[in-house]
C-alpha cells in the first residue's frame, strides 16, 4: 500500500514522521545538552514524541497518560530538582573524559545495532486471534480483574515513594 500524501493516511504518516523526529531529537538533546535544564526540555520533547507513537499504536489512553505523567509530572519534578540543586555553571551536566565518552558511545551503538538487527531480522509471528480490542473498557476491566494485585502493589509503591521522599526531603532542613 502506498498512500499519497494528500490522503488522510498520508497526512497521518507525515505526523508519525514528525513524532519520530521529536522522539529522536529530544532524546539526543536529553543526553547531549550542556545545561541540565535543556536536557530536561529535550526529555519532555522526547516524551511528547513517545506519546504520539503510542497514539499510533492504537492506545490513546496510554498516550495521554504519558503526557500527563511524564511531561506534566516527571519533567516538572526534574526541573524542580534542577532549581533546588543547581550544579555549578562551569560543568552543568558534567561529562566524563573523552575515553569514557568514546567507549560508552561505542558500547551504546553496538547495543543499539544489535537490538535493531534483532528487531528486523527476527521472524515475528502474529498472534492467531485477539481476545479483545485493547480498548479503554478492556483495559479497565483487566486492570481491575487480572492485574488487580499488581495494581494494588503499585499503589503501595507509590505511597512508599511519597513517604520516602518526604522523609528524605525534610531530613536535612535546618528549620521547618
Amino acid at each position: 500500500m502506498n498512500p499519497p500524501i494528500s490522503s488522510a493516511e498520508g497526512l497521518a504518516g507525515l505526523v508519525f514522521l514528525v513524532m519520530l523526529a521529536a522522539t529522536g531529537f529530544g532524546a539526543l538533546i536529553a543526553v547531549n545538552a550542556e545545561r541540565t535544564i535543556r536536557a530536561v526540555a529535550g526529555l519532555a520533547l522526547c516524551f511528547v514524541g513517545v506519546a504520539g507513537i503510542y497514539y499510533f499504536l492504537q492506545s490513546p489512553f496510554v498516550a495521554l497518560m504519558e503526557l500527563l505523567i511524564y511531561v506534566g509530572a516527571v519533567c516538572v519534578v526534574l526541573v524542580f530538582a534542577v532549581m533546588l540543586a543547581e550544579p555549578r555553571p562551569e560543568q552543568q551536566v558534567g561529562k566524563r573524559n573523552a575515553i569514557v565518552g568514546g567507549l560508552s558511545f561505542l558500547s551504546a551503538s553496538l547495543l543499539t545495532w544489535g537490538l535493531v538487527a534483532l528487531a528486523n531480522g527476527a521472524a515475528w509471528c502474529k498472534a492467531p486471534m485477539r481476545i479483545n480490542e485493547g480498548s479503554m473498557r478492556d483495559l479497565g476491566q483487566s486492570l481491575l480483574t487480572t492485574y488487580s494485585m499488581v495494581f494494588e502493589l503499585v499503589s503501595v509503591v507509590l505511597l512508599v515513594a511519597i513517604i520516602g521522599s518526604l522523609v528524605l526531603g525534610r531530613a536535612g532542613r535546618s528549620k521547618a
Binding site: G24, A30, V82, A127, S142
Partner: protein
C-alpha cells in the same frame, strides 16, 4: 516500504525503542550528575515501554497487557522520579554538589 506508511510496521517501533534504549544507555555511562543519569534512565524506560506497546499492538493475543505494563512502568517511573528528586536534594544539601564523582571522592 513507503516512508509515509512506517506507522504500520512493527520494525519501526522496535527500532525507535532500540534507539531510545541505546541513547539512554549512552547517557547513563556518559553523564556524571545525578539528574543527568536520571534523565538517561527515563529514556531507557521509555525505550522499553515503546517495545512493550509495539508488541502489544502487533503480536499480543490480549492487547491490554502491554498497555497495562506501560502504565505500571509509568507509575514506577513517577515514584522513581520523586524519590530521586529527594535524594538529589539530600545529596546536594550535604555535599553541595550532585556530581557522582565528587560525592564518591568525599567517601559519602
Amino acid at each position: 516500504m513507503n516512508i509515509l506508511d512506517l506507522s504500520n510496521h512493527l520494525q519501526t517501533y522496535l527500532t525507535i525503542g532500540a534507539f531510545l534504549f541505546g541513547i539512554g544507555f549512552y547517557g547513563l555511562l556518559q553523564r556524571q550528575t545525578l539528574i543527568g543519569m536520571l534523565i538517561s534512565a527515563e529514556l531507557i524506560l521509555a525505550g522499553a515501554s515503546v517495545n512493550f506497546m509495539a508488541f502489544n499492538r502487533f503480536l499480543a493475543p490480549d492487547p491490554t497487557v502491554g498497555q497495562i505494563f506501560t502504565l505500571f512502568i509509568m507509575a514506577i517511573a513517577a515514584a522513581e522520579a520523586s524519590i530521586a528528586l529527594s535524594i538529589v536534594i539530600a545529596v546536594y544539601r550535604n555535599y553541595k554538589t550532585i556530581d557522582v564523582v565528587d560525592v564518591a571522592d568525599l567517601e559519602g
